[in-house]
Symmetry: C2
Subunit: 419 residues, 2 copies
């Protein structure tokens, strides 16, 4: 993509009305736009990051044999009344609205009720199980406060996966595979070393839920982490009994600020019973289906990566989720020879399958370097008239700051990126 | 994909509460699920069609140099008040909701206001223009009636494109390129021969808008079509004056039922003026930006294709948007040899880059054939024990019904699909 065609620019200063680092950086660098507190639009650079994250998550979900679908935002009152979750006294973060033809609708806070209701039409026998579905869907939550940027929004993109099993053993097997898939996802987006499975409250569903907590000062949670076992306990449920049960010693565990990037709930039959999702076993006896739900906040993940991988100059994207692999910067020269050579390299890199953002704007070198640092693409290639005379370009690693001079030879440059 | 892993099944009968053919077929074949009137969830087979349509639309939008973004569903009252479109007396199909922290929000019916407001932060000079952005976003419209299945939903996926130009000439040039891109899209999804640019009411924006109307009895619109000039006029605005102005003779034109699959509005400065989206020209004088908006209903397009390409047995997808290229059917045999050979062909076709749905279920041949007809994948390959003995499979074209016998040789089968 050519930077001159990008309709959205970087800003000189971070927005004054944002307190969170992730939103300040992502707004300043032109990745997101704040519509109102807790509501953000995703701009082209940000959308490329979101799509990279989605592609990694989708691959791992498909590796579990889960099928992708897309449920509606609008929620029917009657279905949620069956599980007792329509009442604002029970669920305190609903957005509700009214049909012109009469009747109230909810905006999806999560999708356990509709997916259970839907599966009840399709599952009837143990032969139909186990089965799993997932989606990327916008969730709407009426948060009283929204000060964490895209890490806690009133409208946000979530990946939710639901599993349906006939027996506890079938459920446990899927649960364990999903847990491994989650750890692979956090590893692949660059957060693996600082993300830990954490025991947390199971709510009304079970004794514990499993959270995936990433260490960052921007987090709203506190965990006790046992580095040796790589297990943690959320402070909310920490007690001597639980510490003994899980085997995390409170005395030696580290107390850390973290953000919850994913979670897994054992739902048991809490939804299948009231919504009539049952199956017949081999003997013809009817039982409720055993369910699990598995969430990852996609926007929150982008926000967490922005918090963790940034420095005083701006964002520093891991390669796996960067909006582009290469930021190709053409410095200005009077005759336009540099831009012509840069365009040439741009086309050749693209032909080699490398994603390139070409800075072809007529602005100063200083402005181009500052923007490149702010946007945070992993590798920067600078084409200037001096290098052109020597037949070289300069390659800078955004993470390490390491600078190399390379011959202007596409095989050399491509090899540099593809190994 | 293996059909045994699909969580959603076909139904023996079409749903009784649906009057529209598209929803009846798509529900029966397991492509969508009705949540409530005008609100549908998209199941895995349907999502594959939606993604195929999106990929075609995205390619054509990118060919216009438009950048993809994703705006929020939630709409801020203050922005819409500036254009006078917040008032329910002016716009009668809003869904509105309330923040716990106080204040009313709208759910996006369209996105002219927020995109204009956003661009005002980024556009300041004629050098920043022309520019265009697009998105695939869910729209929410509080329709009093919703009886056309996914062709008129209360919640639906739309592609919307917005253009921003400095001069009328710049706008006209983009408008014409966008019109051509629209016709390419309808051609590529199989509707090109029955879709016509149609003059329609310009609303508050300009004298005319341009609609793209597809001939189908399921349509809610009526057009007068001049087959020679391939131009049409929406009945809503037909008069002797307009018929003369556009050059469509009402006497010889055909009166046809159609569905509006796309539209283009010349917005002029109706949004840029109240929302302060201006630019400075070369002399330093400030002017409001000239805008256009360009919509395609993605769900409606799937519904229209389902209406147009279907017969008494079910759906008949054009190859370009089919959920899979090949439906590979393994007939049952006692020893499992047929399924083993089918799995072999399945893997080899996939390796060759062909998308295959393998019917590996333990159901009767009749049930498999009926489901294949209902689902409507363009090519069916049947592997049975009789053919296996001869070393052949049977290939059936869903559209023409033509049947061929082919040697079980992957080169032969691949050549059959890839030309």
């Amino acid at each position: 993509m050519k930077q001159s065609t990008l309709p959205f620019k970087t800003r000189k200063d971070a927005p004054k009305d944002e307190v969170s680092l992730n939103a300040r950086l992502l707004i300043q660098a032109g990745f997101i736009h704040k519509e109102m507190a807790g509501v953000y639009s995703i701009l082209p650079l940000g959308l490329r990051v979101i799509e990279k994250i989605k592609a990694i998550v989708r691959e791992e979900m498909e590796s579990l044999g889960a099928a992708e679908l897309s449920m509606s935002a609008f929620q029917e009152k009657a279905i949620w009344e069956k599980t007792g979750r329509w009442d604002d006294a029970v669920v305190d973060n609903w957005f509700k609205t009214t049909l012109k033809s009469g009747g109230e609708l909810g905006l999806g806070i999560t999708h356990e009720e509709p997916i259970t209701n839907m599966l009840a039409e399709h599952v009837s026998s143990y032969k139909d199980l186990p089965v799993a579905v997932f989606q990327f869907q916008t969730k709407f939550r009426n948060e009283l406060r929204a000060k964490s940027g895209i890490m806690r929004g009133r409208e946000f993109l979530m990946k939710d996966l639901y599993s349906f099993s006939a027996t506890d053993e079938e459920h446990a097997a899927f649960y364990n595979r999903a847990k491994d898939a989650y750890m692979r996802i956090f590893q692949r987006v660059g957060l693996g070393d600082i993300t830990f499975p954490t025991y947390a409250t199971g709510g009304i569903f079970s004794q514990f839920s499993l959270e995936f907590q990433t260490i960052t000062d921007a987090g709203e949670d506190v965990i006790y982490l046992d580095r040796k076992s790589k297990l943690a306990i959320n402070k909310e449920i920490m007690s001597d009994d639980i510490s003994n049960e899980i085997g995390v010693d409170k005395a030696t565990a580290e107390e850390l600020k973290t953000v919850e990037v994913g979670n897994i709930f054992n739902l048991g039959t809490k939804f299948s019973e009231p919504l009539g999702l049952t199956f017949k076993d081999e003997k013809g006896d009817r039982y409720p289906v055993i369910m699990g739900s598995y969430g990852i906040g996609i926007g929150r993940l982008m926000g967490t990566i922005a918090e963790v991988f940034s420095d005083e100059k701006g964002l520093v994207w891991p390669k796996s989720v960067a909006p582009f692999e290469v930021h190709l910067i053409a410095l200005n020269d009077a005759e336009g020879k540099v831009l012509a050579e840069a365009e040439n390299i741009y086309q050749l890199l693209r032909t080699a399958g490398i994603e390139v953002l070409l800075d072809d704007r007529h602005v100063s070198a200083g402005a181009k370097f500052a923007d490149a640092d702010l946007i945070g693409i992993p590798m920067r290639i600078v084409v200037g008239s001096k290098g052109l005379a020597d037949g070289t370009v300069e390659i800078t690693d955004r993470h390490t700051g390491e600078v190399k001079t390379l011959a202007i030879s596409v095989p050399d440059i491509v090899t540099h990126f593809h190994g």
